[in-house]
Amino acid sequence: MATTWKLALVLAAVAAATATRASKSTAIEIKPGPAAMSEAEKAIVSDPATGAQHGVVLLEETARNDNLGAEYQLEYHLRAKILSAEGRGLADVAIPVNHGMSDLMTWWGRTILPDGRVVELPKDGLKAQAVVKTSSRESYELKGALPGVVPGAVVDFGYVVRGEGLARLNQVYLQFRWPARMIRYRWIPNTFFPAAYVALHTDAAKVTIKADRTSVLVSAVDQLPVQNEPYMPPKHELLASVSFYYTEANESLEDYWNLTAKRVETDLKEFSNAGAIRDAIHEMAIPSGVPMQEVLRTAYDWIGTNIKNTGLESAEEEEAADKKDKDTHNAKTVLKAKEGSPRQLDFLFAGIARALGAEAQIVFTTDRSERYWSTGLKTLDQFGYSFVAVRGPGEGDDKWILVDAGSGLPYGEVPWRATGTMGFLSGAKGWAQVGVPPSPPAKNRSETRVAISFSDDNETIQAKWSRIALGASGMDMRRWLRDLDPPKRKKELDTLCGAREGGEVSAADLPGLDDDSAPFQIGCDVEVGESNLTESIGRYSLTLLGVWSEEAPDLPEATRTFPVIFEYPRAETDSIDVAAPHGFKPKDPPAPVTLRSPYGSYQLTVSKTATGYHVERSFSLLPVIVKPPDYTVLKQYVDAVRKADRTAVAFDRVGAAP
C-alpha cells in the first residue's frame, strides 16, 4: 500500500515556479490577423476524435499590463476556425469592463467566410450591458456577435480595454474544449506589489515561459483538449495552466513556506492555554505507564466525546444550537464552550498532545478530488483540510500519525479526500512535506445483508437489505444525510433504499445516525419490481444485482491515457439469501468464482438451501492510483468481477420436466 499512495505524488509535480522582477524582451504585438484564410486554415476540418469537433483556436493572445498606477490595460486577440454549428459560439463576444464603451480603446472583429468574403462587426455593433451596479461600483460587459458565421469560417477579433483594479490571482488555462494552435499570454505586473507566477502541468516541449525584469510571456503551441476518462484525476490537475498572482512579500518559495509554517506554529502556541489544557488532561484521567500512542488515543477520544465539532453538526443539532456567538478563539474558550470548529479541534488536540509529551504539528492538505498541493503557489487557500501529525518524542519522520480531531473518524484516520497525496507539515523550524496515506481496506469495510423473496402470488420481488459501512466507505454518505433536513433526509433514504429505480419502499432506517462517530448503517424493505414470472415459465433465473449492490468500477476502454484514481481502498462482503418463487425449487448452484489480482481479490460462493440459495460474496479493491501501464491488469480484474457479479441463480418449477 505504501507504494500506491506515494505514486500520487507524481501528479502534483510543479513545472516551474519563479518570482518575476523584470523588462521588455517579452513584448508581443497584438494586432488583427490576416483578412484572408491561409491554405493551412482552409485545410482544417472537423475531427471529433481529436477534440476538434466544433472549432480550432488558431491564435489566442493576451497582454495584461497592470503597471499603470491604479489602472490596467488588457489587449486581446482571438483567431479561430469554426467547424460546427456549436462552434459558432466562439463568435459571441463579451468583453468585461468597468464603465462601459468608454473603456474600449480599440476594437476589430471580422468573419472570413469560406468563399473569401469578409464581414466586419464595427465598434458600434458592441452594446454595453450592466452586470452589476451599486452606488460605489459597477461593471459591464460589451457584447456583440460576429456576423455571417458558418462552419468553415474563420473569426478574428480583438480589443484593447482599460480598467481599474488588480486581480490577486489570475489562472490562465492553456487547454480548452477545442485544440489551440498557439496561445500567448504576457503579464506586466504592478511593480508596487510583489508578484509571482506558477505553471502547472505544462509540457516543456509545447510551452515556453520567458521572464524579464518587468514581465513574463507564456507561449504555448498545439494544445489539445483533455478527453474524459472514468476515474480520471481532477481536471484541474490535467489542464496546462499558468497562474499569475500577487503575494504579500517577495520572498522565495522556500522562505514563504518556512514563514507560513512558523506562523502556524505561533498560532498554535497562542491557542494552547497551558492551564486550560492541564485541566482537560486532568479530566481525561489517563493512567500512568500507558504507551504514548494509547495516551494520545485516549485524548483524541476524549475530545470526540466532550467537544462538539461545529462543522459536523446534524441538521437537528444545528437547529437546536444556541446561535449566540460563542467567542471560541483558544483552547480555554473552546473547552469552556465545549465546541469548536474543525481547525480549533485540531489545534486543541495538538496542544493537548504536546502537553502529554508527544510531538504534534499542524498539517494542511488539499481535497485531492479537486486539486493537489502546488508548492509553487504561495497561498494557504489551496488547502481544504487541517489535521494533526503526532508521534512519540524523538521518533523519526516515518512515525508521524495523522489524526483528525473531532471528526468522528477513528484515531489515525483522516477523510479519504485528503489521502494519497502530500500535506504541508508546519513546525517551529519551518515546513516539510508529509505523506497522507489512505487507510487500509479493512478500515473501509462494508457488510451488506440481503434477503430476496417473492410475493405470495409471485408477481413481485421483495428485498430486505441492510448495510454497515466503516471508515471512508460510509463517511460521505453519513455526513451528507446528517446534514439534510429530516423531510429531505427521508426522501433521500427512500431513494437509497430503492425508490430511485422505481422500487416501492415500505420501511427505511438509518440506525445510529445521531451518533457522529458511528459507522454508516442503513436498513430497507423494498418491493423491487415485477418478477415477470408467468404460468408458462418452467425455469426462472435472476441475477443478484440490485439497489444494494456496490458494483466494481466500469472501465470499458481498452487503453488509458491518465492514471485511474479511486477514492480509497475498499473491502466488501455481501451475504444474500434468495428464496425460491412459490412453486419453484432451486437448481444446482453455479460454480464458485475466485479471483486474485494485485489489485484485490474476489470470491463468490452460492449454496443451495432448503428454501433457495445462500450467496456469499467478498470483494476488495486495494489501489488508490493505477498508472496507465498497469491499466490492463486492473481492467481484467474489474471486468471479471463485474461478470461474476452477474451470475444468475435458477429455479425449476416443481413438477416440471427438467
Partner: protein, 656 residues
C-alpha cells in the same frame, strides 16, 4: 420574447457584493405596515421547521395613471424559522428598462432587538442567461439574520409598460400567509382578470381599488417526473381598459386580435425579402423533392442550420423581430428573428405563413379572456398547407386547423435539433396565438403521439459456439428522443458515442463494442445509431442456457416510486417504444414465447413472435399517449409498467 429573470443564481454574486458594502447597522424605525405585521407575527414553531422561513405578507400595490404609466409599491415581510438559514437575507425585485426604481429599503428586526435598516445600498444585477438583455433585479440585502428574525422590504418604482396588462405569479419557495395584489385605477377605467392555472378567488372591489388576495399558500416541492413548482403556482393576469374616448399611449388589449394587431404594428414590413433571400430560398428548394413538406422543410433547414440562435432582448427588441434582411446578412437572431426570416423565404416560394406566439418554457400560461404579452415567450411559424397537397402521415403532429387561416403546419426554426414537420414536445398541446393582421386566433397545438416521438430498436443476435453471440443493433429515434440525442451528439460526438455504447453494454453485459456509426439526421428525421457487439463465450448474457429476447427494452421508459407520492407523474409527452428482435441459431427445442396484448387508459403493449428455421423473431411495442397521471391514476400507471415489463421479459432457452 422577454423571459422571466432567473434570480436564484445571482444570490451568490450579490452576497459577495453585499458583504463588501455592509456598514455597521443603523437603528431605524419600522414603517407602520411593518409594525403591524411584526406585532401580529405568529410564534415560531417548535422543533425542526419544515421550511426555513415563511412569508407573512407580500403586497404589490399598483397605482395606474390615466396616461397608462403606473406606480408600484412592493412590500414583503418574512419570518425566519430556522437556525440553518444563511445570515444574509435577500429580496429581489425584478425589472427591466420599462421600470425605474425610485426607492428600495429593507429592515431587519432580530429577535428581541430594535429594527436595523439595510445599509448595503442598492445593488442591481443582471439576472438572465440571455446574450443581451435589460432584465435585471434590484437586490436588497440584510445581514445578521437568524431564527426569529423578521425582515421587511419596500420597493417603490414607476413603470411605463408596453401594454395595459399585468401578470403576477404568486409563487414563493416558502409558505405564504398572505399575498395581495392591489390595483388602483383612474376614474372610468375597468379591469378584467383571470387566474392561472386554475380558478382563484374573486377580487374585493372598493371604488376604483381592486384587491386580489390569497392566503396560506404552500409551495409544491419539486419531484422527479413531477410538475414544475413554478408552473403550478397561482398566477394572476389583469387586463386594463381605459374609458371610451381616452387614448393613453400604452395600448390596451380588449381581445387577442387587439394583441395581434399591436404585434403586426411593430413587426410590419420586417418579413420583407429581397433578391438575396429569394435566391437562397430558390437554392434551398432546388435540392428538395416535389412534395410540399419537402419544400417547406428545405427552407426551414436553411434558417434552422445557418442562422445561429442568439437572443437579444432589450426594450422593444424583446417583442419586435429584426428585419429578415438583417437576419439573413448577420446569420444570427432569436426565435422571432429566425421565424421572420423563415416567413420571408417561404413567401418567396409562394407559401403563406403566420407568426404563432406560444410559451415554450411552461404550460398553462394563456388566460383565454385576458390577453397579455407575457402569455408567450416563443415564436414559431404556421405555414398554410396547400389545399390540394396530400398530407404525409408523419405530419399529423404538426398540423392544426385555424379559422381564418386554414390548415397550418407548425414549424419551429429556432430549435436546431428538431425535425421540421415534427412539433417539438415542449410546444405540444399548448395554447398559442396565430397572429393575423386583423383577427388573431388562439389555438391548441397538437399534443403529439407515440409514432411521432418514438424509439425503434432492431437487434439481430446470432448465437455462436460455447455461449458466444454477435449482436447487430440499430436504434432509430424520432421526435423528442431524436432531438435529445442530436443535442448530445452536437455537443460532443465522442461523449454521445460513449453513452450509446454504455447503454448497449448495460443491455448485453460483458459485450465488446466492435463498431459504431451514427447518422444524426436522415431524410425521415431519424437519429440513427448502429452498433456491433461481440459477446464472448461464457458471457453472463447467456446464462443457464437462457437469453433475453428484448434486452433492456424498458431502458428508455422512466419510472418512479409511487407508494408515498402525492404529486402527479408528468412525462414530457407521448412516447412509443418499438423493439424488433431476432435470435438466430436457436435449437429446435426452444419454445416460441406467447404473444401479449394489453391496453389501458392512454397506453397499450403488444408483443408477437414467430419462428423461421433456427431463428425466432419477436416484436414488442409500447405506446403511451398519455403524459400525465394524477395520484388517482397511479394503479393504472403501475399496471402499465407491469404490462410493459412482462411483455418485454420473454427469454429463449438456447441451452440445456
Amino acid at each position: 420574447m422577454i423571459r422571466r429573470p432567473t434570480i436564484a443564481r445571482t444570490a451568490a454574486l450579490v452576497a459577495g457584493l453585499a458583504a463588501a458594502l455592509f456598514a455597521p447597522p443603523a437603528r431605524a424605525g419600522l414603517p407602520e405596515w411593518a409594525k403591524a405585521v411584526a406585532q401580529s407575527a405568529p410564534e415560531l414553531p417548535e422543533g425542526m421547521p419544515e421550511w426555513p422561513s415563511r412569508t407573512l405578507l407580500w403586497e404589490r400595490h399598483v397605482i395606474v395613471s390615466p396616461d397608462g404609466t403606473w406606480k408600484i409599491d412592493d412590500r414583503k415581510a418574512e419570518q425566519y424559522l430556522s437556525n440553518r438559514v444563511d445570515d444574509i437575507a435577500f429580496h429581489f425585485f425584478a425589472y427591466d428598462d420599462t421600470t425605474k426604481i425610485k426607492r428600495s429599503k429593507g429592515w431587519h428586526v432580530p429577535p428581541g432587538e430594535r429594527a436595523h435598516r439595510d445599509v448595503a445600498g442598492a445593488i442591481d444585477v443582471a439576472v438572465s442567461d440571455t446574450f443581451l438583455t435589460d432584465a435585471k433585479a434590484r437586490a436588497i440585502a440584510l445581514e445578521g439574520v437568524k431564527k426569529g428574525s423578521l425582515v421587511f422590504y419596500e420597493v417603490e418604482a414607476e413603470a411605463k409598460p408596453y401594454a395595459l396588462a399585468m401578470r403576477e405569479s404568486f409563487f414563493d419557495e416558502v409558505p405564504v400567509a398572505a399575498a395581495r395584489y392591489v390595483v388602483d385605477l383612474p376614474p372610468g377605467w375597468s379591469l378584467h382578470h383571470a387566474w392561472l392555472p386554475s380558478a382563484g378567488p374573486e377580487p374585493v372591489r372598493s371604488g376604483s381599488t381592486w384587491t386580489f388576495e390569497l392566503k396560506e399558500l404552500s409551495p409544491v416541492k419539486a419531484e422527479r417526473l413531477g410538475p414544475d413548482p413554478f408552473a403550478v403556482a397561482p398566477e394572476l393576469v389583469l387586463g386594463l381598459t381605459p374609458p371610451a374616448g381616452a387614448a393613453p399611449p400604452t395600448p390596451a388589449f380588449r381581445d387577442w386580435s387587439d394583441l395581434g394587431r399591436w404585434w403586426w404594428s411593430i413587426a410590419k414590413g420586417r418579413d420583407a425579402g429581397g433578391p438575396p433571400i429569394q435566391k437562397a430560398a430558390d437554392d434551398a428548394i432546388s435540392k428538395a423533392g416535389a412534395g410540399a413538406i419537402e419544400r417547406i422543410r428545405a427552407v426551414t433547414l436553411y434558417v434552422r442550420d445557418r442562422v445561429r440562435y442568439l437572443d437579444r432582448e432589450v426594450g422593444i427588441g424583446g417583442y419586435q423581430p429584426r428585419p429578415a434582411t438583417q437576419v439573413f446578412n448577420e446569420l444570427y437572431g432569436d426565435c422571432k428573428d429566425k421565424g421572420t426570416l423563415l416567413r420571408a423565404m417561404l413567401a418567396a416560394e409562394g407559401y403563406l405563413s403566420y407568426p404563432i406566439l406560444v410559451k415554450a418554457s411552461r404550460p398553462d400560461t394563456v388566460a383565454e379572456s385576458v390577453p397579455d404579452l407575457e402569455a408567450f415567450d416563443h415564436f414559431v411559424v404556421g405555414v398554410v398547407w396547400p389545399k390540394d397537397a396530400p398530407e404525409p402521415e408523419d405530419l399529423a403532429s404538426s398540423l392544426v386547423d385555424v379559422p381564418g387561416a386554414g390548415r397550418l403546419v407548425v414549424i419551429d426554426a429556432t430549435d436546431e435539433y428538431a425535425w421540421p414537420g415534427t412539433l417539438p414536445a415542449h410546444l405540444a398541446g399548448k395554447r398559442a396565438l396565430v397572429v393575423m393582421s386583423e383577427a388573431s386566433v388562439l389555438v391548441t397545438l397538437p399534443a403529439g403521439d407515440p409514432t411521432t416521438h418514438r424509439i425503434a430498436k432492431t437487434a439481430v443476435t446470432t448465437l455462436g459456439a460455447a455461449g458466444s453471440a454477435a449482436v447487430k443493433l440499430e436504434v432509430k429515434l424520432y421526435g423528442a428522443p431524436a432531438e435529445v440525442a442530436r443535442v448530445e451528439c452536437a455537443r460532443s460526438a465522442v461523449d454521445r458515442r460513449k453513452s450509446a455504447e454504455d447503454d448497449a453494454r448495460r443491455a448485453w453485459p460483458g459485450a465488446n463494442v466492435k463498431d459504431y456509426a451514427v447518422t444524426a439526421e436522415s431524410s425521415d428525421g431519424a437519429y440513427t445509431e448502429t452498433l456491433g457487439l461481440d459477446l464472448p463465450a461464457g458471457s453472463s448474457v447467456v446464462q443457464d442456457g437462457v437469453i433475453s429476447l428484448f434486452a433492456s427494452a424498458l431502458q428508455d421508459s422512466a419510472r418512479v416510486s409511487l407508494t408515498k407520492r402525492a404529486v402527479p407523474v408528468v412525462y414530457r409527452g407521448p412516447l412509443g417504444l418499438r423493439y424488433d428482435a431476432t435470435l438466430a441459431g436457436v435449437p429446435a427445442t426452444a419454445e416460441t414465447p406467447k404473444p401479449e396484448q394489453i391496453a389501458g387508459d392512454g397506453w397499450s403493449v403488444v408483443s408477437s413472435f414467430d419462428r423461421k428455421g433456427d431463428a425466432i423473431h419477436g416484436t414488442w411495442r409500447f405506446d403511451r399517449t398519455r403524459a400525465r397521471f394524477e395520484p388517482a391514476a397511479f394503479p393504472e400507471l403501475k399496471q402499465m409498467w407491469a404490462a410493459a415489463s412482462r411483455a418485454a421479459s420473454p427469454a429463449i432457452r438456447v441451452g440445456p
